[in-house]
């Protein structure tokens, strides 16, 4: 059996107090169900998580490093897009 037989899966774990799933790494598995179980064994051994997502790596469309400037640079000088001109009430968490 060779590793290349099994596709690569990306793993996202939501921690106990986390608000969202965070990418923690990747693994190989024959299908989604086994990927979920492997993720449980590999990434939540120390009781880090309460929820796991897996997605096949080939299903992720990623931005290319070559396009970094056209993608991200134009946002750099748009200061008015930041909510820095408002007073944020203290009782609004996670903004």
């Amino acid at each position: 059996m060779t590793r290349s037989n099994w596709p690569l899966w990306e793993v996202f774990v939501r921690g106990k107090r986390g608000l969202n799933h965070v990418h923690v790494g990747s693994l190989h598995a024959p299908d989604a169900e086994m990927a979920l179980r492997n993720a449980r064994d590999l990434y939540t051994r120390r009781n880090e998580g309460v929820s796991i997502w897996v997605v096949e790596a080939s299903d992720i469309t990623a931005s290319s490093p070559d396009e970094k400037d056209p993608f991200f640079a134009p946002a750099g000088d748009k200061v008015y897009r930041h909510p820095t001109f408002y007073v944020i009430p203290e009782d609004v968490p996670h903004l």
């Binding site: 921690g15 598995a29 179980r37």
Partner: protein, 307 residues
């Protein structure tokens, strides 16, 4: 919260404590100093009013089943077909070892002769081990088995032990009840893992299916022994679980998996016993001597050594 490192992000609020084993009920980590904290803290350790010899023997039966299968699964470390599966089998072996430690400690405590878990694990001879023979046979890695036979054994063993532990959780021995309650969640995962692999091997290629069928045939002669009621179990009503009572449930679960995997239940004849005596009486197969030699030689060569 920093996202420079994914693990920092999910464990930031646990700070350095996140390296410890598990977590406290409040959700925060356990500090490394508490790593060996007794998982049965707070459990009543009084001994129920039964024969201590019988209760000791029963604790050893439950402990040895887990200890010996743990040793067998450990043999896969670094040899499993995939890295991910290597970790999964090691996790299962560690769960079983954890159950064995608690049960050996209880056996030593009930016996009252000062034997601790290490003494019982490393310094008993073959005929003093009380596990079912299914746990000890060689199912690979190596010429005597393969991954499929390992999965076949794990499927049957964890289905059976889960059914026993579900009943043991209401045992009159508070320690056995607590060990069982803790073990049920672990065993449910072991069973699920084995069932998932059974489905995949049976439904994979013609070759993987043939190996899965051969694996089931290899272990099936040892299955009947799991449901034989031992005299010790018979003498401990309310404390011990009579394994013959779990047979319908185990058969039903296995039938469910076999149907989904389009497999036939093997019809192998049970392995013979020696004048009716088998694993529970300390009568083991040839494989057991080799297993013990590997498991015990370090502790016996260097008595009291620490590593």
């Amino acid at each position: 919260m920093s996202f420079d490192n994914a693990y920092d992000a999910i464990t930031a609020e646990n700070d350095e404590h996140h390296w410890a084993f598990g977590a406290t009920p409040g959700g925060s980590g356990v500090s490394p100093g508490e790593y060996r904290e007794d998982p049965l803290a707070g459990v009543d350790r009084s001994v129920p009013d039964v024969s201590t010899a019988d209760l000791t023997a029963y604790c050893l039966m439950l402990a040895d089943d887990a200890l010996i299968l743990s040793q067998r699964l450990t043999e896969w470390c670094s040899r499993a077909p995939e890295l991910e599966e290597d970790v999964a089998l090691a996790n299962i072996a560690l769960d079983l070892l954890g159950q064995a430690r608690l049960l050996l400690t209880r056996a030593g405590e009930v016996e009252g002769r000062g034997r601790d878990e290490d003494t019982l694990a490393y310094l008993r001879d073959e005929h003093e081990f009380r596990h079912v023979r299914l746990a000890e046979i060689a199912c690979g890695p190596g010429p005597e088995g393969d991954f499929a036979s390992t999965i076949a054994r794990l499927l049957v063993f964890s289905t059976w032990r889960l059914a026993v532990f579900q009943r043991l959780a209401s045992s009159a021995d508070p320690v056995l009840a607590a060990v069982a309650a803790k073990g049920v969640k672990e065993l449910a995962y072991h069973r699920d893992h084995a069932a998932q692999w059974t489905l995949r091997l049976a439904g994979g290629t013609e070759y993987s299916r043939a190996r899965m069928i051969a694996g089931l045939e290899q272990i099936w002669p040892l299955v009947a022994e799991l449901f034989e009621t031992h005299e010790v179990e018979r003498r401990l009503p309310g404390v011990a679980v009579d394994p013959s009572t779990v047979r319908p449930e185990v058969d039903e679960v296995l039938a469910h998996v076999f149907t989904a995997a389009a497999l036939e239940i093997p019809t192998a004849e049970p392995m013979s016993t020696v004048a009716g005596r088998a694993g529970r009486d300390g009568v083991h197969t040839e494989a057991m001597g080799y297993l013990l030699a590997e498991m015990q030689h370090l502790a016996r060569s260097l008595p009291g050594a620490q590593w």
